[in-house]
Symmetry: C2
Subunit: 485 residues, 2 copies
């Protein structure tokens, strides 16, 4: 749209290494992914950004359903008394809640919270729905909007309102709940790695960083191109905490009434921020083909006065050939080819299809990859097989590049001095030997701004030897620290 | 789930003709479509009900996209000052608004409305996005939740929060806006008739019944089995009203700045209420195959102690054969076949597949239609072609049955006495000659509770002759009155 176009000309995209956060904001705005709303901290997700979310929803939803999860809808508003039933939960969320106090012209007797998350109202319903062990497991997912009144906001990464999915399950035993918690983390991990081409560390959160009310929280952590970590999805084993607060019981086969064990797990529009910050470069966005609104863009190369008939005919043939196979955009606007190249590079379309008079004569086109700008001439008749293949290559290459970047920017620190040196001079993840200690963790955060991102599942075989880099106590695990979004 | 199962046994489904609204509420609860939430007037849409909504979204969204519409997301909260900018709009919606007055532990300077609809915040954004005629038309749709603080609520039909889609478009001219308004009504009409098997009248709303802030409102009206009308979708030509309030202007090709003409159009979870009330019968729900979560249910008929191997093997074969072609449920629970028949009839599954030991010997199954209980034996190998065919026949039959019902219950009144007699003794639609008159309309509503549902597009050829049934003035059109939801 014109405003965006104008802005593109007046302001060059800043270099990632000069000012990463300015680069990020420029890309979000120039690529027309999102805008700030006239309500503080809220976001308008524009069609191009929302189309990415639609692909995320489609792909992730199918993975959920394969594990037996069904979608439902729960109300936006939650009575204050519900939030207060689980002590840790209310402590964690109350400061960020937006309250409805008037409705239909009257003051409400009890203020209603706009859901910051739905564990409490889910707990209320599960308690009514579940009677016996035959009703278990109960596996529900919600695609909805939630609200957390954040002070500092960044588009996609931290906004007062955001879109997400929140899954909620109830089980007979703690073991089953643990299994489901891990299963959903694995669903996220394969989705994020395979569909978004983002390599992740997966593992357990520390006590300090776990979800308010959880027994145990697992997460995925991805490295952005400024070396910071972004928590990409979380899966919580809630144990019996919510079941006890909301009286979620079932009659077991042995005739005893028992508490269910519950879980919850979520992924939000924040992940779009990760896509931008993991794959983007000096020319703008690079979208993984699986979630790109347009997987390829056709740019005709012609002179204004030249005969366009032959090219248009070839384009028509290409469109028919690729229909239902590749998500194609044909750019027939009045802009110059050079303008179009920049525009679609900025918007991250994975492959450009150039077609000029000579190409038509040769019955071929030129394919240009967005990620490495490699070019190849391809016969039009071969597009049907070559283009999907090339898109798969791009998807794979994006993952490999991001993985290599993460490996290059992952350090091992033996001592706290080494740790501080890395944190002040380099950017990235620091892996250390660790004797789990919440106070030490807070002290490290205070001094270095680095937090314990994750205790990876991937631990040395035979257990960790040696001492904690910070306390000198016998280490119990390896942990990964980083600054984070 | 057990609670539902228990309830089914203790309370028989009431007869439609004895107490239609009780029948409706029982079906919604027993079929586990929805529940009341612990927040006044809000609804929990349970997995079986939500699955219907997912099919509605999928089918309708594809129809929108075929007309060039793209999805986006706009914020939940709207500043009070926005709502107040369009005078008629605020007058219509202010009494039903829920207000957020506190967030993040502080009183807000300006109360924020939970969106009752998004025309105002869309107007704000369109004004920023649209610069020139090249940006037009702008065609956006939102799938979201909205809130209207209703006093009396009924699940799906009238709840404080509901799910819907709201489309918003901006155009160069009033003519283009009118064309889009009509196009989207036609998209709804074909969707509702073809996918939901619900016959509808389509036409224009009277001045009294149009949307708050619209130039002109079109709607679809369907007849429920109690003879009442349900407005199933609306499409509004907003003219220049919102463009002027929000300064949505564009630079035209002639160098002049002009106001856009805008439209909006919506369909909500209310339509699930229409599906229930148009197709349901004394045994419960009947779902049109296009949106049924399960299009067919397999019920094995075996004795507890008998050999189940052969039947299980045949079921496995059927599942593999129909995978990706028919949405199939296989009921292997411990319940008796008779219990399962009742259960899946109540839940409206269009076709039941019975398979017993003799069927397996004959390499066949018995198909039973939910709508008319017709049975047929079909060779297992023929299921792949016969079942989809049968589902198409059921879809068609449901539409024809509903159309016949509407025609049987549509009356023509020449005089107001006739009109009142029909309204008091019969149930259905009354078609009359009408000289558009808002005061007469209100008087009729006052006395008979009937409202002017629609001025159908389908009018007598060559124009209406004769006089208005109420005022005696020369008639300008035919109109349809009914009591409504």
């Amino acid at each position: 749209m014109a405003e965006g176009a104008k802005e593109k000309y007046v302001e060059e995209l800043v270099d990632q290494s000069d000012d990463f956060s300015r680069w990020y904001n420029q890309v979000v705005r120039k690529a027309e992914l999102a805008d700030y709303a006239p309500v503080r901290g809220c976001m308008i997700i524009r069609p191009y950004g929302y189309a990415i979310w639609e692909h995320i929803q489609r792909l992730l939803d199918a993975r959920f359903k394969e594990t037996g999860v069904m979608n439902a809808y729960f109300p936006l508003l939650i009575p204050r008394s519900f939030l207060e039933r689980e002590a840790k939960h209310v402590e964690g969320f109350a400061p960020e809640v937006a309250w409805v106090t008037r409705g239909g012209g009257e003051e409400l007797e009890e203020p209603l919270a706009i859901r910051p998350t739905s564990e409490t109202i889910i707990g209320y319903s599960f308690a009514r729905w579940i009677q016996s062990y035959r009703d278990l497991p109960l596996l529900i997912n919600l695609w909805n909007n939630v609200m957390r009144w954040e002070k500092r906001t960044v588009l996609f990464l931290r906004t007062a309102e955001f879109l997400w999915q929140e899954g909620h399950t109830a089980h007979r035993t703690l073991e089953e709940a643990e299994e489901r918690t891990r299963l959903m983390l694995e669903v996220y991990r394969s989705f994020v790695q395979e569909d978004l081409a983002i390599p992740v560390l997966h593992g357990r959160k520390s006590e300090n960083e776990k979800f308010a009310g959880a027994l145990r929280t697992y997460s995925l952590e991805a490295m952005m191109r400024d070396g910071k970590a972004l928590q990409s999805a979380t899966s919580h084993n809630l144990g019996h905490n919510f079941a006890q607060s909301f009286d979620i019981q079932y009659l077991d086969a042995d005739g005893q009434r028992k508490y269910c064990a519950t879980t919850s797990w979520g992924l939000s529009t924040r992940i779009i921020g990760a896509i931008i910050m993991v794959h983007g470069d000096e020319s703008g966005l690079i979208l993984p083909p699986h979630v790109a609104p347009y997987q390829a863009v056709v740019v005709p190369i012609w002179r204004k006065d030249a005969d366009q008939g032959a090219i248009m005919e070839a384009i028509g043939r290409i469109e028919r050939m690729l229909k239902g196979k590749v998500r194609l955009k044909v750019d027939l606007s009045d802009n110059t080819p050079g303008w179009k190249f920049n525009e679609w590079e900025l918007r991250g379309v994975p492959v450009r299809i150039e077609i000029g008079p000579r190409d038509v004569q040769n019955n071929s086109v030129v394919l240009v990859r967005r990620d490495n700008r490699a070019k190849e001439a391809v016969a039009i008749d071969a597009l049907e097989t070559r283009l999907p293949e090339l898109l798969a290559e791009v998807q794979q290459a994006l993952f490999q590049r991001a993985l290599a970047f993460r490996e290059e920017h992952t350090y091992y620190a033996e001592t706290y001095d080494e740790f501080k040196e890395i944190m002040s001079e380099k950017r990235g993840f620091v892996r250390v030997k660790w004797a789990e200690d919440s106070e030490a963790e807070l002290a490290i955060k205070e001094e270095t701004k680095a937090t314990l991102r994750v205790i990876p599942f991937d631990q040395p075989e035979g257990g960790v030897q040696g001492r904690c880099f910070y306390t000198g106590k016998p280490a119990t695990c390896e942990a990964v620290f980083a600054r984070s979004y």
